[in-house]
């Protein structure tokens, strides 16, 4: 199964339990609008874009994004996150073409 490159970043890299950090989810995706024409064939390139992103901590969802084709290619989405303690972040995504995927990152507070 083809796997699209995606990753989760936490800023700052060092944080404590109770601190609010910024979590970014980045994914390599064309975010095709469905309004562009292929130069050679003249045919419309079909819409192909990430339309949903969900953030989970230890299996519990805490943020859901509904996304449309106006978001830039290779999108980045950043939200806040209050660190509850040690655990696992997971981000899942879906596209309008039915593609799905997920990525994870451990949350390791110092103190």
């Amino acid at each position: 199964m083809e796997s699209r490159k995606s990753l989760i970043k936490i800023k700052p890299k060092k944080y404590k339990t109770g601190e609010v950090v910024k979590v970014s989810f980045m994914i390599m995706h064309p975010m095709e609008t469905g309004m562009r024409k292929d130069k050679k064939s003249g045919k419309i390139i079909p819409a192909d874009y990430v339309n949903e992103v969900k953030f989970f901590f230890d299996g519990k969802p805490f943020t859901t994004l509904k996304v449309w084709e106006s978001v830039s290619t290779n999108p980045v989405f950043t939200v806040g996150f209050k660190v509850p303690g040690k655990g696992a972040l997971k981000v899942t995504y879906k596209t309008n073409t039915g593609e799905t995927g997920e990525t994870t990152k451990k949350v390791k507070p110092k103190g």
Partner: protein, 155 residues
């Protein structure tokens, strides 16, 4: 469909397409996106017709001039305690002149700690970006900013 809306959406589909791929010349039949929606319809869908109030609590950070209309950074922050009885439950970001004005809806919870969202969007032309924050108390607060997009031309 109202004539004004029809003309707006046809024109905007062309403009949006032109910025996304400046090298493609536009033929007589301008491609329309599959998700066309104007700002009035989008706001009604989000608020159910309820009042939207511009508020200083909603901070929208975006460039006044977009160097590249395909990648315009937008950051929204809303002043909120983000406690279970008082938090921002959604942030909606609209590109008011794109053929589909919706870019992202962000459903937040107190676990976020702060009401904040950042991403990069495509703008088909110079336009206002409008953000609407929905609070757990049922208020709709907004902020907007005009962004100039220079289309076509190298450099």
């Amino acid at each position: 469909m109202k004539r004004r809306t029809f003309l707006q959406t046809v024109g905007l589909a062309a403009a949006a397409g032109a910025v996304v791929t400046p090298s493609i010349a536009f033929a007589a039949d301008k491609p329309k996106g599959p998700n066309e929606m104007g700002i009035d319809a989008a706001l009604k869908a989000v608020t159910g017709g309820q009042k939207i109030t511009p508020s200083e609590k909603v901070h929208l950070k975006a460039p006044e001039i977009a160097e590249n209309g395909a990648v315009v950074p937008v950051t929204v922050e809303v002043d909120s305690p983000m406690t279970p009885d008082d938090y921002v439950k959604a942030i909606h970001v609209f590109a008011t002149k794109n053929s589909n004005v919706r870019t992202a809806d962000v459903m937040l919870t107190p676990a976020n700690g702060i009401a904040m969202f950042a991403t990069r969007i495509k703008l088909g032309s110079t336009q206002e970006v409008l953000v609407v924050a929905e609070t757990s108390k049922g208020e709709f607060l907004s902020a907007s900013q005009s962004i100039k997009v220079t289309i076509g031309g190298c450099g």
